[in-house]
């Protein structure tokens, strides 16, 4: 099973890199209750990819299909900044409704653009993700994005924690709350835009939510949640990937299924501890 998986070792390495960085950010996503912001940004990113393919297919931007990440990045970061400053809260629309509108519209536009893109059918894979298609060069790209993001989170842990836990007090102590909040969302948008190229909406969403939930169920401290989330994401990626190759299963859903199983085990452990 392992030897079969190692035939795609670059894909395996890529999914492990995604596991670490997404699980780390996922802790904030889950604790701050912005799970669907992650999903909406992923859809915006996917819409960016679709737009690149459509423009290229129409002959208006011939090179766009070669660089869909640039389009994914623009939409993901714009979405991250929008939600980072409050997501139109001043307009009186409830924040979760704004997230829902963004998610639905971005998903629909992505499908419409792909449907009309001349090269669309061949490129559906960009929207669904193709984790097996990760090359050595892709792994380096993912590392080039993930390492600085992880270092930023390591270095500015207390700033991200403080503005997430109690923004009013952080503000009175002189913290630029809006800046730190936007910085946090910026790292989220950046990672989602790149992860989307390889993992697709569903798997990125899984990496952002399920490992962090497993961490919350098992651990009792912030450090414990980060470690458990990262470990569970790595295990899910490794096991899911290794099972998917010999059994000819799609890798993304296999990883998600293992993530789900780990979350259920964590929930059972938590339930037993409470008795």
């Amino acid at each position: 099973m392992l030897s079969a998986a190692l035939l795609f070792k670059d894909a395996l390495y890529g999914s492990l890199v995604l596991s670490v960085v997404c699980a780390t950010l996922g802790v904030y996503v889950v604790l701050r209750r912005i799970v669907f912001v992650g999903a909406a940004i992923a859809e915006l990113s996917s819409m960016g990819i679709a737009l690149a393919l459509w423009l290229s297919g129409m002959g208006w931007m011939a090179g766009a299909s070669a660089h869909p990440v640039a389009f994914a990045l623009i939409f993901a970061l714009a979405g991250a900044m929008f939600f980072g400053i409050g997501g139109g809260a001043r307009s009186g629309v409830p924040p979760d409704a704004t997230i829902g509108v963004t998610y639905a519209v971005a998903a629909a536009l992505g499908i419409l653009l792909i449907a009309k893109a001349k090269s669309g059918e061949a490129h559906d894979i960009f929207l669904q993700g193709n984790i097996l298609g990760i090359t050595r060069a892709d792994v380096y790209v993912l590392l080039a994005v993930s390492v600085p993001v992880l270092l930023a989170h390591l270095l500015f842990y207390k700033e991200f924690l403080f503005v997430s836990f109690d923004r009013e007090t952080a503000r009175t102590l002189g913290y630029r709350v809006t800046f730190w909040n936007l910085f946090l969302y910026f790292t989220l948008g950046l990672v989602i835009a790149f992860a989307m190229q390889f993992a697709g909406v569903m798997l990125v969403f899984n990496y952002l939510v399920l490992p962090a939930v497993t961490g919350m169920l098992i651990a009792r401290s912030m450090g414990g949640i980060f470690i458990t989330a990262i470990l569970s994401a790595l295990v899910a990626s490794f096991v899911g990937f290794s099972l998917s190759v010999p059994f000819d299963l799609p890798s993304g859903p296999a990883i998600i299924a293992v993530s789900g199983a780990l979350a259920v085990v964590a929930w059972l452990i938590r339930s037993l501890q409470r008795r």
């Binding site: 997430s164 007090t169 401290s221 912030m222």
Partner: protein
């Protein structure tokens, strides 16, 4: 006495809408001021101006140089989803001194423990914040404010949603901190009866205006009736002042609400 905070003809508001106009008062060193009034009257607006997050639309708000605020937010404004130990929450009060990219040192932890001892919950240092009672959570937030060695302690509705025992204990603790450490305290509350028996001065912020004075000056039937616009009785029981709104006929009530 040295003035720490001065409002001079300050008009406060949001956008083009003024909430409070022409405020002039001082908060001297060693003061224990209760900022009292109903929700929406402008207490938080004054608080924001003091904490520097709201610029006056007109006039000035002057803060003495080097002033350090220890801020105790409303308990519900903190996100209890985060699994933090009590001592870790208190340490946040030192984050701005620790500096960017640095972790709390052993000395910071010792100071956090001292602050917890100061408010009487050192034994809870390693407990999860979420596992504490309302009163214990409030003590944790007060300890966090104290660990920054503030010049002024600012508390926003510290007894909101608390039972009688916890309310008495928290207000007693704040009074003790004021007397023992000669700490200047500014306490925001909507509960006049609670605050009046602990503070030294009251700033009353109501729809009809703003008035500031000693407890004896503000807690009179005439002043409160004028400010609230309904007949009010002020009584004394065992040295405590009690304010009771007189029962009014429905017609009068309607008139007031209108």
């Amino acid at each position: 006495m040295t003035s720490l905070i001065s409002f001079d003809g300050a008009t406060l508001g949001y956008g083009h809408r003024a909430v409070l106009t022409n405020l002039t008062f001082d908060i001297p060193q060693g003061d224990f001021l209760g900022l009292v009034g109903p929700n929406g009257a402008g207490k938080t607006t004054i608080l924001r101006a003091i904490l520097g997050s709201l610029e006056p639309m007109a006039g000035t708000v002057t803060i003495a140089p080097g002033l350090r605020f220890g801020y105790v937010p409303q308990r519900d404004s903190v996100d209890y989803n985060f699994p933090l130990k009590v001592v870790d929450v208190v340490l946040m009060g030192r984050y701005n001194r620790i500096g960017l990219g640095r972790r709390p040192t052993k000395e910071d932890r010792e100071l956090a423990c001292q602050a917890l001892e100061h408010v009487g919950i050192l034994n809870l240092a390693d407990r999860q914040l979420t596992a504490l009672s309302g009163g214990q959570k409030q003590r944790t937030l007060i300890a966090r404010a104290l660990v920054g060695q503030p010049t002024v302690l600012v508390l926003d509705e510290p007894t909101n949603g608390m039972d009688l025992v916890s309310t008495t204990q928290i207000l007693g603790l704040v009074r003790e901190l004021h007397e023992r450490d000669n700490l200047t305290v500014l306490m925001v509350s909507h509960a006049l009866n609670e605050v009046a028996n602990y503070v030294e001065r009251i700033a009353l912020v109501v729809e009809r205006g703003f008035r500031i004075g000693t407890v004896a000056e503000i807690m009179t039937e005439q002043t409160l009736t004028d400010m609230y616009g309904i007949p009010v009785d002020v009584d004394e029981m065992h040295g405590h002042r009690i304010v009771v709104a007189r029962r009014t006929a429905p017609a009068a009530e309607t008139q007031h609400n209108a």
